[in-house]
């Protein structure tokens, strides 16, 4: 571990909330309420300099009065009192802290932030923030977000860790993740990055076995070269998908060289992400659908796609998307596969790739086609279009696809386009571990990202960079 140790922050045995309040409008109240709602099973301490008891929990005037080991202190008090509270945490032997409060460097109060950093360093006490949402870990049931659970749905348990500089973008994406077909490992909102920054977070997540995929929202980085090294380290072992805010910055005005005119700040960030082997997302939806495929899929052996569809038009769109991806191609089916398919498919089915199993296809026809195609060594990945508006497609098809997916050793994604009835089946398939997309283009882009990431990772490890 090269960075600061964040384990006591994400897997704390005991938590103190400094600034916990009786007033439901106060941040400190929501945080305490959320701890209770989330079912956190460790010890909760409450610190408030006026009250004796909050929500039935005994309140201490100062953290130093607690006289017990504390893994994490969450600080939600006005900024000017934070350095002293942090000093008290240090003296009380607190292992890690999260400063939720704003009012530091983001409004020009650099001195106050510098004092906070000095205290954190003095006690070697990893400190997250200030001006952040803190952390969430659905396994340890830790949730320091000051956003009520009825307003912001919490994601289920899974393998995706989400790192966000911004609290607002962070909580929005978190809300969206809760309705996506993948679960959360950790959420870390690091705000002003005064002490713990993105490098510490990446190093921690790299070694965290519960994290399979990392998604990141970044606006700016301070330790540029060290970031590149940390980014390269983690990309070698797990995929990182990055969305960068603030891309519109253009090249330097009145540049003296062509190079400076072409390559501005935004281009420099993109170059660093590419050099590190990150997957670059252009917007929030790309961030989510790349995360979905990366979490559930195995590395593909190659870039040859087989398409199976119960709608001709959707198959054409998917074929076009494969052609335009520049990375994937349509698989050429073996003579043996074609022969076997011709025997079992109805005569109206034209046996080729894309395979249009026709509008009346049911789960049996999909099942027999996929079972044959799975055996074809010329196919590396599957794009299955299942349109639930057709007569043959119902819950049995959704269940059959989940079943086939579990037997599959190759990547498989499903495209289902439609409203309420389709959404219901999408949930069935996604809870069974099948990534489902609304459009053939998004599905193909995701398969291409999966292929590119693993191909580059392999090439990098070969050339040892």
């Amino acid at each position: 571990m090269t960075g600061l140790d964040l384990k006591p922050m994400l897997k704390p045995r005991s938590v103190a909330i400094i600034g916990a309040s009786r007033d439901p409008d106060k941040v400190g109240h929501v945080i305490l309420q959320n701890y209770i709602n989330a079912g956190y099973s460790g010890k909760i301490y409450v610190v408030n300099n006026k009250a004796d008891e909050i929500m039935g929990i005994k309140a201490y005037r100062n953290i130093r009065d607690i006289k017990a080991g504390i893994d994490l202190a969450v600080i939600a008090i006005p900024a000017e009192f934070v350095p002293d509270a942090l000093e008290d945490c240090g003296k009380a032997g607190v292992k890690t802290t999260i400063v939720v409060s704003g009012g530091f460097a983001e409004i020009g109060k650099n001195d106050l932030q510098e004092r906070l950093v000095q205290v954190a360093r003095k006690y070697n006490m990893p400190t997250l923030g200030p001006n952040c949402l803190g952390v969430m870990d659905p396994r340890s049931r830790i949730d320091t977000l000051f956003l009520p659970t009825y307003k912001l749905s919490r994601p289920s348990v899974g393998g995706v860790s989400f790192v966000s500089q911004s609290g607002a973008v962070g909580s929005t994406i978190l809300d969206l993740i809760s309705s996506e077909g993948f679960g959360l490992s950790k959420f870390i909102s690091y705000g002003n990055a005064a002490h713990i920054d993105e490098i510490d977070v990446l190093d921690y997540l790299m070694h965290d076995d519960e994290t399979k995929v990392v998604i990141m929202y970044i606006e700016g980085i301070r330790r540029g070269r060290e970031f590149l090294e940390a980014a390269k380290r983690i990309s070698r072992v797990k995929p990182v998908i990055v969305l960068k805010g603030g891309k519109t910055a253009v090249g330097m005005a009145a540049a003296r060289s062509h190079t400076a005119a072409l390559a501005g700040d935004a281009q420099a960030y993109e170059a660093v992400f590419r050099q590190a082997g990150f997957i670059i997302a252009d917007d929030i939806s790309e961030l989510l659908y790349y995360a979905k495929i990366m979490e559930s899929e195995v590395p593909p052996a190659g870039n040859r796609v087989a398409i199976i569809t119960n709608g001709g038009g959707a198959g054409v769109l998917a074929t076009d998307a494969v052609g335009m991806s520049g990375k994937l191609k349509l698989a050429e089916l073996s003579k043996k596969t074609i022969g076997s398919l011709a025997k079992i498919m109805p005569s109206l089915v034209n046996v080729r790739n894309p395979l249009d199993v026709a509008g009346d296809a049911d789960e049996k026809r999909y099942g027999s086609a996929l079972s044959l195609l799975m055996q074809d060594g010329g196919v590396d990945m599957f794009l299955v279009i299942a349109l639930f508006q057709t007569p043959g497609a119902d819950s049995k098809l959704a269940a059959r696809l989940v079943d086939l997916k579990q037997k599959m050793e190759k990547p498989l994604v499903v495209v289902s386009i439609g409203a309420e009835y389709t959404k219901m089946h999408r949930i069935i398939m996604e809870s069974g571990g099948v990534p489902v997309y609304d459009s053939p283009v998004d599905a193909v882009k995701s398969l291409a990202a999966l292929y590119s990431y693993y191909t580059l990772r392999k090439a990098r490890s070969k050339s040892n960079v």
């Binding site: 700016g220 980085i221 301070r222 540029g224 070269r225 590149l228 003296r256 060289s257 062509h258 190079t259 400076a260 072409l262 390559a263 700040d265 281009q267 420099a268 993109e270 170059a271 660093v272 590419r274 050099q275 090439a459 990098r460 050339s463 960079v465």
Partner: protein
């Protein structure tokens, strides 16, 4: 930030075995004619006050006869006198290839960056370039070429790929070794199926 003298810049490139078109300062039309010695040359007015030579009207290309050379010399002299002090550079013409740009700059966050792209008059029009932080590895150089839409054109469908990779790696080393370089343009570099010529150099430094 100042512009490094052209001949000094050539010497710097040569230390990293980056070849540029043979060039020499000339002070009279006669100097230029004897430098040409029957071959095609270019004449360029060089001044710290006119970083964009073509835009300032300080470049004359493809000169061969004595009269062409003399005429171009006096035209450049007339314009360059407005940007004094100046020098006039005679350079052997390199023609017929694909024009690319190789460049560098210092990013406040990530340090030295290296760039390759379609060059010459196409730089602004197509903005087809790729970028990395220095030093680059061979893998990075390969990736940079693969990212370009014009990759196949620049490498002649792979024929000159290893030449371009070597050029990128040498430039990266030069940028990395010389902290004082703030900005670099090798633009254009004329790429041919089996070789290349750096035709214009701009090194800005402390």
């Amino acid at each position: 930030m100042a512009l490094l003298d052209y001949i000094e810049a050539q010497k710097l490139l040569l230390k990293y075995s980056i070849k540029s078109a043979p060039a020499k300062y000339v002070s009279t039309p006669g100097d230029a004619i004897s430098f040409a010695n029957g071959r095609r040359i270019a004449l360029k007015g060089i001044s710290n006050k006119a970083l964009h030579k073509s835009k300032a009207g300080l470049v004359r290309l493809d000169l061969v006869s004595d009269t062409e050379i003399s005429k171009a010399f006096s035209e450049i002299k007339a314009i360059a006198s407005k940007f004094a002090p100046y020098k006039i550079l005679a350079q052997q013409m390199s023609t017929g290839g694909v024009e690319i740009i190789i460049g560098g700059r210092i990013d406040p966050q990530f340090g030295k960056l290296i760039l390759i792209g379609l060059g010459g008059i196409y730089v602004e029009a197509f903005k087809d370039f790729s970028l990395r932080t220095c030093p680059i590895t061979r893998f990075d150089a390969e990736e940079m070429l693969a990212e370009l839409r014009s990759g196949d054109v620049i490498t002649y469908k792979g024929k000159n790929r290893s030449g371009m990779i070597n050029l990128l790696m040498k430039t990266s080393k030069m940028l990395n070794d010389n902290d004082w370089i703030q900005e670099l343009d090798l633009n254009p570099v004329i790429v041919k199926p089996e070789s290349y010529d750096v035709v214009d150099i701009r090194v800005l430094g402390d």
